[in-house]
C-alpha cells in the first residue's frame, strides 16, 4: 500500500491581489479602476463578503480581510447618500485592511469612491457579470488556489477516459507501461511527479509540474518529450483521478483479489480512490490489463459490476437446487463452424 507523506501536502497561505487580477481578468472580465498601489496586498481566504451592514455603520464582525463585492444594493445605497456622508461611510470601512473591492453588474463608481480607494491603497475593479455569477466565479477561483495539494511519485494516464495513476517502486516499469499506453492511443497527463489538487468535496484533479510538463524518462534511453514525439493527441494537462494501480513484484505471501468483490480504496486528502494492486509476472501484459481495469471501472460506473453479477448468477442457481447440464449450449444443431 502506498504511503502519503504528510509533508508533501501543502496549501497556499495567500495570494496577492496582483495574482488574482493577472490570472482572472480575462475570465471575470475585470477592469482596474484604481491605481496599482495596493497590488501587493494579500488575500488569505476563499470566502467573499458583501459589506451591506458595514456600509450602514455596523462594523462589528466585519469580514474585512475577504475580497469585498459591491453589487447593486451596495452601490445604490451609497449613491443615495449626500456627498459628505458618502465619504464618511467609505472612510469608516476603508480604515480596515481590505484586500480589494469588485463592483459587479458594470456599476460605475462615483469619483469619490476611486479617490478614496487610491488614498487607502485598495485596488478597485469592475466586472460586467451579475453579483451571483461573479461570486460563483471568484469563489471557485479562490477555492482552487487555496485547495490542499499533494505531490506523489507515479505515472498518470487517461485510459479510455478514466484517470489511472500508476504507483510503485522506482524502476518497476511505470514509465514503460505509460509509454505503451500512449502508443496505443491513450493520453499522458504526467510522468514521475503528479500534483493532486482537491477540487470541491470528493474530487482530486491531477496534473504535472510546470517544469516537467510531458517529458518522461525511459531507463536506458534518457529523457523524451512525449508531446513532440506523439503529438497533441497523446497528452492532456489535467484529469480527475479515478483509479490507483500499484505495480509490484509478485509476492507469494501477499494476497491478491480473485473475485473483485472486495473493493479497496486509498484515502488521499480525505478522498477515497479505488485501488488495485497488480502483481507483475513474466508474460503478463500490464498494458492490456490496465486497459481492462479502466474498462471494468467504466462498466461499474454505468451500473454493470461483473463480479457482483456472476455472484448473483451463482446464488440464483444455488436456490433453484436443480441439476442442470453443465454445458452452456443445450443443443449444437447442425452447426459445425
Amino acid at each position: 500500500m502506498i504511503k502519503i507523506d504528510q509533508k508533501a501536502v501543502s496549501r497556499k497561505e495567500s495570494i496577492t491581489v496582483e495574482f488574482l487580477f493577472k490570472n482572472s481578468k480575462d475570465k471575470f472580465k475585470l477592469r482596474l479602476l484604481s491605481d496599482e498601489s495596493g497590488f501587493s496586498k494579500n488575500i488569505y481566504e476563499q470566502n467573499l463578503h458583501r459589506p451591506g451592514l458595514a456600509l450602514t455603520g455596523f462594523v462589528d464582525l466585519f469580514s474585512f480581510s475577504r475580497v469585498q463585492i459591491f453589487g447593486n444594493t451596495e452601490m445604490s445605497f451609497l449613491r443615495q447618500l449626500p456627498d459628505d456622508q458618502k465619504e464618511e461611510t467609505l472612510r469608516r470601512i476603508f480604515k480596515f485592511n481590505i484586500p480589494c473591492i469588485i463592483l459587479t453588474d458594470n456599476n460605475v463608481p462615483f469619483p469619490k469612491l476611486i479617490d478614496l480607494a487610491n488614498e487607502f491603497r485598495i485596488p478597485l475593479f469592475s466586472s460586467p457579470f451579475s453579483t451571483t455569477k461573479l461570486v460563483f466565479l471568484v469563489s471557485d477561483f479562490l477555492d482552487d488556489q487555496f485547495a490542499p495539494r499533494v505531490s506523489i511519485h507515479g505515472s498518470f494516464v487517461d485510459v479510455y477516459g478514466a484517470g489511472v495513476l500508476f504507483v510503485g517502486k522506482s524502476g518497476i516499469g511505470k514509465s514503460e507501461v505509460t509509454l505503451d499506453l500512449v502508443e496505443r492511443g491513450h493520453r499522458l497527463v504526467a510522468d514521475d511527479i503528479i500534483i493532486l489538487t482537491k477540487k470541491g468535496e470528493g474530487i482530486l484533479i491531477g496534473s504535472g509540474t510546470n517544469l516537467a510538463k510531458h517529458f518522461m524518462e525511459i531507463r536506458g534511453l534518457g529523457i523524451i518529450d512525449v508531446e513532440r514525439m506523439f503529438g497533441i493527441r497523446a497528452i492532456r494537462f489535467q484529469k480527475r483521478l479515478e483509479i490507483i494501480v500499484e505495480l509490484e513484484v509478485w509476492d507469494e505471501k501477499e494476497e491478491y483479489t480473485r473475485t473483485g468483490l472486495d473493493e479497496k480504496f486509498i484515502s488521499i486528502l480525505d478522498v477515497d480512490i479505488p485501488y488495485v494492486k497488480l502483481p507483475i509476472l513474466p508474460g503478463k501484459n500490464i498494458t492490456v490489463i490496465s486497459e481492462v481495469i479502466s474498462l471494468n471501472y467504466l462498466l461499474k460506473h454505468y451500473g454493470h459490476d461483473a463480479s457482483k453479477i456472476f455472484e448473483q448468477r451463482l446464488n440464483d442457481r444455488l436456490k433453484e437446487k436443480k441439476v442442470d447440464d453443465l454445458r452452456g449450449v443445450d443443443y449444437f444443431e447442425h452447426d459445425f463452424e
Partner: protein, 89 residues
C-alpha cells in the same frame, strides 16, 4: 525506521543536470526508498525527472528521507555529495 537529513545547496550553479544525474546514480545503488522534499514538492530521488524538477538553486534547503535496509549507508554517501557542493566548490 527512517533517516531524515536537511541539506543546503552550496555551489553557485545549483542542482543542475550533472549533479542531478549523479544523485540518481548514487541512489539507485541502494535498496532503500529515497525522497527529496522542497517547498511542499515531494519527489523520488531515484528519478532524474524528479530531481531536475526540484530546480533547487544555490542557498535552498532540501529535506532528504531514506527508508529501507541500507538507509544509513545511502544517507551518508548522498548527503556528503550535497555537502561537497557536488564537487564544484
Amino acid at each position: 525506521m527512517m533517516i531524515e537529513k536537511t541539506v543546503k545547496i552550496v555551489n553557485n550553479a545549483g542542482l543542475h543536470t550533472r549533479p542531478a544525474a549523479t544523485i540518481v546514480k548514487l541512489a539507485s545503488k541502494y535498496k532503500c526508498d529515497f525522497n527529496i522534499l522542497k517547498d511542499g514538492l515531494n519527489i523520488n530521488g531515484k528519478s532524474i525527472i524528479g530531481v531536475m524538477t526540484l530546480a533547487a538553486e544555490m542557498g535552498s534547503e532540501l529535506l532528504l528521507t531514506f527508508d529501507g535496509v541500507d538507509e544509513k549507508e545511502a544517507s551518508e554517501e548522498i548527503s556528503d555529495y550535497f555537502n561537497r557542493g557536488f564537487d564544484e566548490l
